[in-house]
Every structure is written in C-alpha cells, then in structure tokens.
C-alpha cells in the first residue's frame, strides 16, 4: 500500500467504499502501514497550520468602505422614484451619459481595421474616452456643492458610478494599471460622499482628487501622443 492511497484515505475523498475498507484493514493489521499512516497524519496535520498574513489597516478600511458604499448605493436605489423628472445632474442621467460614452468607445474599438494603426487606434479610442471621463469628473468636482451634504452625495455617487463603468471597460481592455487607478479613486470619492464630513475635509479631498486627475490627464495626453507617433512612424516609444 503506497502513501498516495493513504493520502486519499486521510482526506476521505477519492477512494471507493471497498478501497477504504481495504486501507482500513491494512492499517489495523499491518504495523508498518499503521506507522506510515500515523506519520503521514502528523505531517498533514502540521500542514493545516494557519499563518495569517497581516493586512494593512488602510486595506481593511477600504473593505469596510466597500460595504458602506454598497449599502449607500442600495439605499439610494431603493429610495429613488422611477417617475423622477429630468435633471441634468441626476444620477441616472449621468450614468446614461457614461454608458453612451462607454458604448461609443466599445464600438470604435470593434470597427478599427487590423494592423499597427488599429492597435494604436484601439487603445487611443479607449484612452480618449477615459480622458473625457477624467475631464468631466474634474468639472463636476469643481462645481461640487460643499455646503450641501445631500447634493454633494448625489453628485459624487454619480461620479462613482461613471468611474466604475470605465473601470470595467479598462479591465475588458486589459488596461490593468488604468483599472487600478480608477479603482483607487473610489475610496476617496466615498469619503467625499459621506454626509458627516466637515467642509474643510471635503475641500481637502476635492483638492486631492483634482490633483490626481490632473496628473492622470497629463499622463494620458503624453501616452496618446506617443501612441499616435508610434502608429505614424512605426517606431515604438
């Protein structure tokens, strides 16, 4: 009887009833098999140790934020009336604009001809869509009503929803770095949406976000320019 069979016996999986009975009989009747099985059990039990990797506090906070955000969104969706009148700043309208933008990007990505120019064009179309999103967000943050928690919450939720749409497109486009950047905006936006935040803190968060958006817009402009140059010259930068 080899150790592989004893391993399956230990796991109580992968052996038929008759095979299990055979192993059981061998363990009871053969001291050598019994000793080997004891040693195996001892080692496998040691493998069950749970060494818990420490998780940074900010990561755990992000997970708590995820639930708070999801709960907030659930309550907003539940309380929102389907007959709500048209409002250019409404959440639904913002999401619709973002959806149209995302669909537009997707269509432009599928209609591009194959080849080097297509490769550059695909990523450029996507990148430009993200640039539009960042610019819109920048504008929305500039107009953010810091003195009205409810209005601020409404607008920031709209931004979060748009951000998530682009995050999903970034993932579908294999732009993991960009998806991660978009994801990183979320915890800051969630804090900004909190109704009990002090105006000074809200202003600080807004300043942080607008700074980060500027950085990303600069980076994306540079990348788009480089890709266009590469496509035109055939030289990778």
């Amino acid at each position: 009887m080899n150790d592989d069979t004893l391993i399956l016996y230990y796991y109580n999986d992968g052996l038929s009833d008759s095979e299990r009975k055979t192993v059981e009989a061998a363990i009871h009747s053969d001291p050598e098999v019994a000793a080997r099985y004891d040693k195996l059990c001892q080692q496998l039990n040691e493998f069950a140790e749970v060494d818990v990797a420490p998780v940074p506090t900010h990561t755990v906070e992000r997970w708590h934020d995820t639930i708070d955000r999801a709960a907030r969104q659930s309550s907003v969706h539940e309380s929102r009336s389907p007959q709500r009148s048209f409002n250019p700043f409404s959440f639904a309208w913002g999401a619709a604009i973002a959806a149209v933008l995302v669909i537009g990007i997707s269509l432009s990505m599928t209609q591009i001809d194959p080849g080097i120019e297509a490769a550059a064009g695909t990523s450029t179309a996507f990148t430009r869509g993200v640039q539009v999103h960042f610019r819109d967000t920048y504008g929305q943050l500039a107009a953010l009503p810091l003195d009205s928690a409810a209005d601020r919450n409404e607008l920031v939720l709209q931004i979060i929803e748009q951000n998530r749409l682009f995050e999903r497109v970034a993932e579908q486009n294999d732009s993991q770095d960009l998806a991660r950047v978009l994801r990183a905006f979320e915890p800051i936006l969630i804090r900004l949406a909190a109704e009990d935040i002090e105006p000074d803190d809200a202003e600080a968060l807004r300043a942080k976000l607008t700074f980060e958006l500027n950085v990303m817009l600069t980076k994306l402009s540079r990348d788009t320019s480089n890709e266009t140059d590469s496509a035109n010259t055939g030289i990778q930068t």
């Binding site: 592989d4 796991y11 080692q43 708590h64 999801a70």
Partner: protein, 169 residues
C-alpha cells in the same frame, strides 16, 4: 439577511483569513486584496441569497476563494495547466520572493516550491477542504490529474517542511 453591521463585524474579525487564503492561491498581494474586495461586493449584492443558518464569514470566505481563482485564471491562465511531469524548483522570482516574505515561514515558504497547479490543488483540497471533483471542475481538469498534483504537492511539502524544521532547530 445579513446587515451592514454584520458585514463590518465579519471584516473586522475574519478578513485577515480571507486575505491569507486568497494570497495562498494568487501569491500576489494586489490580486488577493482585489479578490477580497470583489467577494465583499458580490456577497453584499447577493446577501438575500444567504442562508441564515450558515456563518456569514464562512460564506464570504468561499466567495473570496472563487474570486481569487477567477482573478488568477484571468491574469495567469497557465496556473490552471497541469504539468505533464513533475518539475524541479525553478528558482525564486522577485514576485515569489515578495510573496514569500508576505506569507511567512514553514508551510507557506515550502509552498513556494510547488508549481501553480500543484499549489492550487493542494490549497483547495487541504486548506479549503474542497472535494476532488469540485477542484477538477474549478481548474478545468480531471480528478486523476488533481489527485496526482496533490500527491506531488504532499511529497514535496513533506521534504521541504522537514528541511525547514531542520533549519529552525
């Protein structure tokens, strides 16, 4: 149906274990964090499906494992390919070295010497107590290949753990 407070309690008490389990599967800190994040969102969105007789943290744990496998499949599809033959250690990459530092010593250190497929099968069987059939379905392989991967993993771990314990003495 679990409440927002129930989720916060579960995160405070068990998220380190979800993260550790995901880290064992992905060996990548970012992917493990994302897996837990995705799992929490999924669990929240499906909270009405939660069986109140079960434990919330166990339910989220299982969702987190699935999320980690999903992320791994997306980012490193080769991890799900069983090897034709046993392999020798390929040496530590910077990523595995970093993961090793994160994971600590002994079992986790020994596990860095397993192939991705062996590690996945072993973690799901030994640490997560999945059935062989479930593992085979998850990794898109057959039960025989999963068994062989577990046998190889246990053989390697017995040798490695013995060596590590010898070093610690």
């Amino acid at each position: 149906m679990p409440t927002q407070a129930d989720f916060h309690t579960a995160i405070s008490s068990r998220s380190d274990r979800w993260f550790a389990a995901c880290l064992k599967i992905t060996r990548n800190r970012d992917m493990a964090e994302d897996a837990v994040q995705d799992a929490l969102l999924n669990a929240w969105n499906k909270r009405h499906q939660f069986d109140n007789s079960a434990r919330l943290d166990t339910w989220i744990h299982r969702i987190a494992i699935n999320a980690a496998l999903q992320l791994l499949r997306k980012n490193r599809p080769a991890a799900f390919e069983p090897l034709e033959t046993d392999i020798e250690d390929e040496g530590d990459t910077p990523e595995s070295l970093r993961a090793n530092q994160e994971l600590g010593k002994t079992l986790s250190a020994a596990m860095t010497h397993l192939s991705d497929f062996e590690r996945l099968c072993f973690v799901l069987k030994h640490l997560e107590q999945w059935r062989l059939k479930e593992i085979a379905e998850e990794v898109g392989s057959d039960v025989g290949a999963v068994k062989q991967a577990i046998f190889r993993a246990v053989r390697k771990l017995r040798v490695r753990m013995g060596a590590l314990q010898g070093e610690l003495k």
